[in-house]
Structure formats: C-alpha cells, structure tokens
C-alpha cells in the first residue's frame, strides 16, 4: 500500500472521528426533527411554486378535494409527480454518496467513482447514435443498464487478485474505467453534431418527466437499495476502523463491500436513469450530515436520507424561479445552492490538519 494513499485515508479517518455538532442522541434526534420539518416545507413549496404560483390552500384542496380546475390539474399532473421524483431521486443520490464515501473512506468519492455516470452516459450515447432513440423514456433503460454493467466491470477489476476490493483499488479502477468510457463518449459526440446536441440536453439533468411512468419504473430498485443501505450501516462503522480491526471485530468485510456496491449501483444507477447525471448531491450531503452528527454511519445515513431531497428539491424550485417563465435544469442549480453551504461549513468547522 502506498504512503500517499495510506495518509489520505488517515486524513479521512481523522476527519470522521471528530464529533459532530450534535453530541448526544437526544440532540441528534432534535436535529433530525428539524430536518424533517424543513423537508416537509420544501415538499409543499415544490408543489406550490412554479411558473404559475398556486396558493398553499389550493395545493391542499388539489391533493385532498380534487376538482377539475386548471390549478388542480397542474398540481396533480405536473407538480406532484415532479416533487415525488425529486424526493425519491434525491434520497437515492444522497444515500449512494454516503455509502461510497463510507466504503472507500475517501472524502472525494461520489457515486461517479464507480463509473455510474460515465457508464450511463456511454449507453445513452449508443442508444442515440446506434439505435436512433430520442425519447426520455427510451433512455431510461439504456442509462440504467450502462450504470450496472460499468459498476460490475469496475468491481471486477477492483477486486481482482488476492487482496480483494480494497478501497484504493476500487477507486482507481472506477476512475480509469469511467475515463475510458467518457473518452469514447465524447469522441463520438464531438464527431457528430446531432448526438452532441442530444447529450448536452441529457447531461444537464432534470426532474421533469410527464406522469409517474418513469418514477414507478425506477422505484423498486431504489427501495431495495435503501433497505440494503440500512442493513450495512452498522458493519460500515467497523470499516471506518480499518480492514484488520474490522475483521477482528467480526465484520464480514467481503460481504459488506459487495452489498455496498450493489446498493450504490441500484441507487445511483436508477436515479441517473430517471433524472440524468445530477452531480454534487451525493458528494456534498454526506459531508454535511457528518458535520452534524459525527462519525456514526447510522445517523449519517438517516440525515442524508432527509437532507439530500431538501437540497435537490430546493435546487429545483430555484431553477423554476430564476429564469421565469423559462426554467434552469436542476442539475445546473444543485451546485449553486449546495456549494455555498459546503464552503461555509468547511470554513466554520475547525478541521484537523494534514
């Protein structure tokens, strides 16, 4: 194992060891209630706010006492599906990020590390280029398949040899394979204007999908992913102590790694398939959760589950507001909403030195 890599892991471990803002389970629970309250407000706002503003009272009428008015139709047919999509995709993105950061013990890791985005994009390029598919519904399964195939290959390369899938090998394999695929993708797109145009639209990421069709298609995969994530939270606490100590404590490292990779693939693959590559949510929210609750993965996962949809949905709302009556794709907005928070946190908290 290299010095460079070992020290980077020590660094991550030092950071993870620091207690969070909330130091007892009672205060953590209090923070969680606050976070859930914020999520509920964002959900309501996401249904009420848009290119046509609708009063909150009308929103509740549309949900519980539907009549055929324009406002009610907008809410039922457009706003609610979009909001639910944001909720589900947000939770999946955040959780996949938390999982991969816990597994690789690398604060720079996001689901993209496993090649999910590159694989999905590559298959969408093939779908457009070879099969002439041009509808969003047509992309979904290609993107999902691309994400899964790529992750399996990354895991295969990363776990070859007796040492198994060590975090460093997994990370490097993901970066390498992701690079190959995105290189080929951009080679194809840069030589073909029509594909380039399609891909720049898809690449921005968006929660807009008419009706519930896409949501229902990806929901089962995300549900399974979330359940697995909750099951591996406790063994992942042992992983933070290092492979040897974790094994000594009775954690089955091989099984934990495999489960984490499966869950990450399902979550990130399904959300990328449904909404396109939306960056930053999976990278950022686990950091924020860690700052609030400290190093226990079970709490980190719970907070991530609540905070990630808050970030995604509030970004979507901002995207609807800034260019009225036009819209900005949510994938473009997430960084602008999230990054200032992340930077402020990094400046405020005293982080341990190198």
């Amino acid at each position: 194992m290299s010095t460079a890599v070992a020290t980077s892991r020590d660094l991550a471990r030092q950071e993870e060891k620091r207690p969070g803002v909330a130091q007892s389970n009672a205060t953590r629970f209090g923070w969680l209630l606050v976070a859930i309250a914020v999520l509920v407000m964002v959900l309501i706002a996401s249904v009420a706010i848009g290119s046509k503003d609708i009063a909150v009272g009308t929103v509740f009428d549309a949900l519980f006492a539907y009549n055929d008015s324009d406002d009610h139709a907008i809410i039922q047919a457009l706003r609610v599906p979009r909001t639910l999509m944001g909720l589900v995709v947000g939770a999946a993105l955040g959780m996949s990020g938390a999982l991969i950061q816990a597994l690789t013990r690398n604060p720079l890791a996001d689901p993209g590390i496993l090649g999910v985005n590159a694989g999905a994009a590559f298959f969408v390029v093939l779908a457009v280029g070879l099969f002439g598919i041009t509808t969003v519904q047509g992309y979904v399964w290609f993107a999902f398949l691309g994400a899964i195939v790529t992750t399996v290959v990354v895991y295969g390369v990363g776990s070859a040899g007796r040492a198994g899938a060590t975090p460093v090998r997994l990370t490097l394999a993901g970066v390498a394979i992701g690079a190959v695929l995105s290189g080929i993708s951009s080679g194809i797109t840069l030589l073909n204007p029509a594909i380039f145009d399609r891909m720049r639209q898809w690449g921005a990421g968006s929660l807009v999908a008419p009706g519930y069709e896409t949501l229902w298609a990806v929901l089962p995969f995300i549900a399974v992913g979330l359940v697995i994530a909750m099951l591996v939270a406790r063994p992942l606490n042992a992983v933070a102590l290092g492979d040897d100590l974790a094994a000594a404590l009775g954690a089955n490292m091989g099984r934990t790694r495999t489960l984490v990779v499966i869950a990450t693939t399902l979550l990130a693959g399904a959300s990328t398939a449904a909404a396109g590559p939306i960056g930053f949510v999976g990278l950022m929210v686990p950091h924020v959760a860690r700052w609030i609750v400290g190093p226990d993965q079970r709490w980190i996962f719970l907070f991530t589950l609540v905070l990630a949809p808050v970030l995604l949905l509030s970004s979507d709302i901002v995207g609807r507001l800034v260019m009225r009556p036009g819209e900005l794709q949510v994938g473009i907005v997430t960084a602008f909403v999230g990054a200032p928070v992340l930077i402020a946190l990094a400046r405020r908290r005293k982080v341990s030195g190198l």
């Binding site: 290299s2 604060p107 690079a179 380039f196 900005l328 907005v333 960084a335 930077i343 030195g353």
Partner: protein, 356 residues
C-alpha cells in the same frame, strides 16, 4: 547490498548510488531503479515522437526524419518534418511532462490519488474563462488562451482565499475546491446549453484539450515558460517529500510547511496553466501519470521526474493516435489521453493483482 551500507546510507533493499560533484560540495542520492525507469520512459516517448514525425498524409522514412532533425535534409522533407510536424510533437512531449509534474505535486500535497489541479478548480475555471471568450466574444486563439488563464488563476486564488484561515489545510482546500469547481462546471454546462450548436461544439473541442493545428508560434512561449518552471519545481522536490511526512515531522526536518505548500501550489497551478493556455484542459494525464510512474518505479510516494517522463510518454502516444486513428479526421488529443490512459491503468491494476 546490505541494508545499512556505509557508502550508500539506508537502502531499503533498493539499489542506491550517491553521486558527488565538485569535491563533494554537490551530492545527490540516486535511486538506480527510478533512474532506469525514467530513461526507458523517455526513450519510448522519443521513439513515439519519431514515429509521429514520420507518419501522416505524406510518409517520411525514419532515417530521413532523423536526418531532417539533424538539419541535414533538404526542401520538402525538411519542411514537412521540421516546420510542420515538429512543433506539435515537441509540444506533446513538453506539455505531457508539465502535466505529469503538476499532477505529482497536487497528489503529494493532498496525499490523495485523486488529487489533481482540478481539485482547486483550475481546469473548471479555465474552461469557464475560455467559454466566456468563445461564446460571448467569439475570440481568437490568444484571446481564448488569455481567458482560460485568467479564469483558471482567479478560480485557484478564490479557492485558496476561501480555504485560508490561519494557514491552509489540505482537507479544507479539497472541500472548498469541490464546491467552487462544481459551481463553475454547472455554469459551463449552462453556457454550452445556451450557445448555438456549432459554437458549443467548437467550445467543447477546446474543452477536451487539443493539439490540432498548433505550430511554432505556440511552442516558443510554452517552452520558455516551462524552462523557468521545471527547475524551480525540481528544487522543491525534496521539501515536497518531507511535507508528505506531515506538517510536524516536516517542521522538525527544517521545512517551513506553510511556505512550502504555497510554493508547491503556485508551481503546480503554473505548470497546469501553461498547458491549458496552450492546448486546452487535457484531461487524465495529471491524474494518471504520477500513479502509473509510482507503480512502475515501485517507490512509496509520487515523485516529480518519473511522473513527468510518464506524462510525456502518455501525451506523445495519445497525440499519435489522435492524428492517425481516424485519419484524416483529427481527434482532440484530450479524448485519446482519457481513453488510452484509462485502458493502460486498468491493465496495470489487473497485472498488479495477478502478481500478488
């Protein structure tokens, strides 16, 4: 060789020679394996460069290429080899070296194999600067280079300033860098979406990094700047290794940690900036070259010279493929570095796994 050889110091079972010049006033430890790896890498890079000079629409036999380089060829061959092809191939070699060196500096500073100048937002900022010039002003080559330089440097300064509070710590630098580059990447996506298709494609080709059509007028400035930067970086290579031991240990060895880190940061950015201004943000070389070199030399940390040799080899090879793979269509070299470097990396990981 014994582990403690009085002539060679602690060898850790690696072949080490000490060289002394000027009556022992200048001395240096040489790791023979690292040295031989560097020489082999450079030899392969030069061989690839010669093949690149020979091939094209107009084939030149290799002996004629060598003769042309030595100034012994006349007329057409001299024009094709020295005036048309040499500047671009030389650029590939020196820019690749600069990228490898810059990458080694950043991976050492962040102690993270994912560390690269992207981390402090340089490439994202440079792309933003270039996009503003290309899309809003429709600028010339020099305007684009200037825009990229300004964008990249302003971003790097911004990240450094935002991460500064009583010194810059690696972890905070990484987090702030992630945040700022994510915002700029979003901005870039938005600008590409709004631009006309042809303009967006031209911008995207610049964004992939390309050596297509670069001639002598681009080689001169780049070579001059690198001739200043590279010796400066080499002077910092020992403090860089000491800094990897941690701030406290480095201070105990007499290194001013904060000043060394700032110096390395500036040099790493400057090396990358030279490449980006010349040829656009060529990806993956800075990320892969240090790790590839480390695996081949079998050393503990990343180091500058082997990384630079590996970078030169990678970019020279990628440039040959970019020119010849789909000839007469010329690919942006950045696309090839990314794919080719990735394939090589995967192969290396698999081979490493088999040997264990």
């Amino acid at each position: 060789m014994s582990v403690l050889d009085p002539n060679n110091g602690i060898a850790f079972r690696r072949p080490i020679r000490s060289v002394r010049w000027f009556g022992e006033r200048v001395s240096h430890r040489l790791d023979m394996r690292t040295l031989s790896v560097c020489l082999v890498l450079l030899a392969v890079a030069v061989a690839i460069a010669l093949v690149t000079l020979a091939s094209g629409e107009y084939q030149v036999p290799l002996p004629d290429v060598v003769r042309a380089l030595l100034g012994q060829a006349e007329g057409r061959i001299h024009m094709v080899v020295v005036e048309w092809r040499l500047p671009r191939t030389a650029l590939a070699l020196i820019l690749g070296g600069a990228l490898g060196m810059g990458g080694a500096i950043f991976q050492s500073l962040t102690r993270n194999p994912l560390g690269s100048p992207d981390i402090i937002g340089f490439d994202a900022g440079a792309y933003t600067g270039a996009l503003v010039v290309i899309i809003l002003m429709g600028g010339s080559y020099y305007a684009i280079a200037g825009g990229a330089l300004i964008g990249g440097l302003v971003t790097a300064l911004l990240v450094y300033a935002l991460a500064y509070s009583r010194g810059v710590q690696g972890f905070r630098l990484i987090i702030v860098g992630i945040g700022v580059s994510a915002m700029l990447t979003s901005l870039n996506t938005w600008m590409l979406l709004r631009a006309k298709l042809e303009v967006a494609m031209a911008a995207a080709i610049w964004g992939a990094g390309t050596l297509n059509g670069l001639g002598l007028d681009r080689l001169g400035p780049a070579a001059l700047i690198l001739a200043v930067l590279v010796p400066l970086a080499l002077l910092m290579s020992r403090p860089m290794a000491q800094l990897e031991l941690g701030d406290d240990a480095a201070r105990a060895l007499g290194v001013n940690a904060e000043r060394t880190r700032l110096g390395l940061l500036v040099l790493g950015v400057a090396l990358t900036a030279t490449v980006t201004a010349t040829a656009g943000p060529i990806g993956f070389v800075a990320l892969a070259a240090p790790q590839l070199a480390r695996r081949i030399t079998g050393t503990a940390g990343v180091s500058m010279v082997p990384s630079a040799a590996m970078g030169a080899l990678l970019l020279a090879g990628a440039d040959y493929l970019a020119q010849r793979a789909f000839a007469p269509t010329q690919l942006p070299v950045g696309i090839v570095t990314v794919s080719l470097g990735g394939v090589y990396f995967v192969w290396l990981l698999l081979r490493e796994a088999r040997r264990q």
